[in-house]
């Protein structure tokens, strides 16, 4: 990737909603514009989602992609402390987990900055190979 990029929280690209079922939380990530979809799909892999939530969720992460609607649905098992009624976390339903995913950092080509929301960094940054958000498995 040689073109200039900026690094921004997912919150600049997408909104999200969390729902509960048993001990599982689903977090639907919805991009604000279609051109942002491939960035989320390529960078917020199920593995990186799990790494982002390390220590907060205990089970596997599944992912369902619906590109035509601009939605990626993450299903995180073991997210609710054994289930809503048993959960000792103050957020018994895991509603705030959608906010947690919006803190994931995404690298966005600078040419797409007009598609982004919220405050953005001033200047493009060219990433180092070991500096990729969410892990060191640069691609």
């Amino acid at each position: 990737m040689s073109e200039p990029t900026i690094r921004v929280p997912l919150r600049a690209l997408a909104h999200a909603r969390a729902g509960d079922k048993g001990n599982t939380s689903n977090v639907a990530v919805i991009v604000y514009a279609p051109e942002l979809y491939p960035l989320v799909r390529d960078q917020l892999t199920p593995e990186r989602f799990a790494a982002h939530f390390r220590g907060r969720i205990t089970g596997r992460v599944e992912r369902f992609e619906v590109a035509r609607l601009g939605v990626i649905n993450y299903v995180a098992h073991g997210a609710l402390g054994g289930g809503v009624s048993r959960n000792l976390n103050l957020d018994q339903y895991g509603k705030s987990l959608s906010a947690a995913v919006l803190g994931f950092e995404v690298e966005v080509p600078a040419r797409l900055r007009n598609s982004l929301r919220g405050p953005l960094p001033d200047s493009p940054t060219t990433p180092r190979p070991d500096d990729h958000p969410g892990g060191t498995d640069g691609h």
Binding site: R11, H15, A16, R17, G19, D20, K21, G22, N23, T24, N26, A28, I30, H52, F53, R54, G55, R56, E62, F64, V66, R68, L69, G70, V71, N73, V75, G81, G82, G83, V84, S85, R86, L88, N89, L90, D91, K95, S96, L97, A100, G103, R117, G118
Partner: protein
């Protein structure tokens, strides 16, 4: 013909005035109330055993019906509601009395029963969906087991002339699907229309969550007049496509974003959303903003329903004790951390026996735990202590040890007056499947 279906509630604690507004201004053919969470039935069973004054149905039933009945009677709006909880017949009798009081004693009221299978679940069920273990591995007392019924018994009640239908546990979207099936004559094998109609029901079942509730994020997703949200209205066409909208002049919004967030709410595989009536496929959906606060939703798919019903099993699993106290000003977090250390030692001294003990510093990492981003030192924090225990006596130790922090704890500790609601009973909720034909819903007409 366009069928107008309004939402009256999304859960037990929901606001009542938006239901009244929908009834008064929505020109509704149907008003649907969803009042049950996963734990509602088991909590109701526990309460029914201890509280002889508890009617077995939504504790706000009378408030809700008094708010909407005058409007529904005037307009001829039929009501479908799962406020029957564990005694739909009692709820139906109460509604009948309210109708008499409002001069509409001739309105037929139906109760749908038959979903409760507490006494049979151990014989019928295979494994626990969440764990894969056999149901027999649950050794704690099972207080409730109820199947998620579908739309069919409600359709039967409507066909019999019921103007109000009270149910216990029904899959939430089925409350909205039933009026469509009845009005448009859809067969239970018409998977395409049932899929589309159930999809619309799913958008409606959480009330304001599609009209601007559970949505606002200042600067990113702003919501107009968020203190004045309306509950949604679906204008449904005979093919099941619908416009999601709300009464004019209300706050909130309906747009592509609110619809998409709700479409995927509590969904796992969006191509296979299982309900008792049909398997829904959201991936083919078309979503069009056709006007202010008007979104047309079409082309949601459907495939045949499964031959099992989901059953929710409530299990008495002990108690949770919890309490909270507070620090503010310079060094607040340091004092909170010392308090945590003192409490952990104290729980050792008093021999607390807990399945899980959790001490969080609210303001730092209580909700997101180890993934919390460190930011500047907060000005004020709360220390929140919680433990899950087998006995009430053990759970009581949490509040008792927090009491001790008043004069024996850390300097400058802020604390509430000891209060009585520091222990709650835990009813674990587990899911299992039973053969569909093992559950026989019944419709009673009053």
């Amino acid at each position: 013909m366009t069928l107008r279906i309004g939402s009256g509630s999304a859960w037990w604690g929901d606001r009542i005035s938006p239901a009244e507004r929908n009834a008064a201004e929505g020109d509704l053919d149907y008003l649907c109330f969803e009042t049950m969470a996963e734990s509602t039935v088991s909590a109701a069973q526990v309460r029914a055993r201890r509280d002889p004054t508890f009617g077995g149905y939504d504790t706000y039933l009378e408030d809700r019906f008094r708010a909407v009945l005058p409007h529904c009677i005037r307009r001829g709006t039929r009501i479908v509601s799962n406020q029957g909880w564990i005694d739909p017949l009692a709820a139906a009798r109460k509604v009948k009395a309210l109708l008499v009081e409002h001069g509409a004693g001739d309105w037929p009221v139906a109760a749908v029963t038959g979903g409760v299978i507490t006494d049979r679940v151990r014989d019928l069920a295979g494994s626990v969906l969440e764990t894969g273990a056999p149901l027999s591995s649950i050794t704690d007392p099972i207080v409730s087991a109820e199947a998620y019924l579908g739309a069919e018994p409600i359709v039967e009640a409507l066909a019999a002339g019921a103007m109000v239908v009270l149910t216990g546990r029904v899959a939430d979207p089925s409350l909205f699907l039933a009026p469509m099936m009845h009005a448009f004559g859809w067969a239970s094998t018409d998977h395409a229309r049932l899929g589309q109609g159930t999809g619309i029901g799913h958008l409606m079942e959480c009330g304001a969550q599609v009209t601007g509730g559970y949505f606002a994020d200042p600067g990113f997703k702003d919501v107009p007049d968020p203190w004045d949200l309306a509950f949604p209205i679906a204008e449904v066409e005979p093919d099941g496509s619908a416009v999601i909208t709300k009464v004019a002049g209300s706050g909130g919004l309906v747009d592509r974003r609110t619809v998409l967030e709700q479409m995927f709410y509590e969904v796992h595989d969006p191509a296979r959303y299982l309900t008792p009536d049909v398997v829904v496929d959201f991936t083919s959906a078309e979503i069009e903003e056709i006007g202010p606060d008007r979104v047309r939703v079409s082309r949601i798919g459907g495939t045949p329903r499964t031959d099992t019903l989901k059953v929710s099993v409530g299990v008495l699993e002990g108690f949770v004790g919890e309490d909270t106290f507070y620090y503010a000003g310079p060094g607040a977090t340091d004092r909170a951390r010392l308090a945590e250390r003192i409490l952990r030692e104290r729980f050792r001294v008093v021999g607390l026996v807990a399945e899980e003990l959790r001490i969080d510093i609210l303001g730092v990492s209580a909700l997101h735990g180890p993934m919390s981003r460190s930011t500047a030192e907060p000005y004020e924090v709360a220390v929140r202590v919680a433990a899950r225990t087998r006995t009430r006596a053990e759970a009581d130790k949490i509040g008792r040890e927090v009491d001790g922090m008043a004069v024996s704890g850390v300097g400058m500790t802020a604390k509430r007056v000891p209060h009585g609601d520091r222990v709650r009973e835990v009813v674990g909720i587990w899911s299992t499947l039973v053969p569909r034909d093992a559950v026989r819903p019944q419709v009673h007409l009053l």
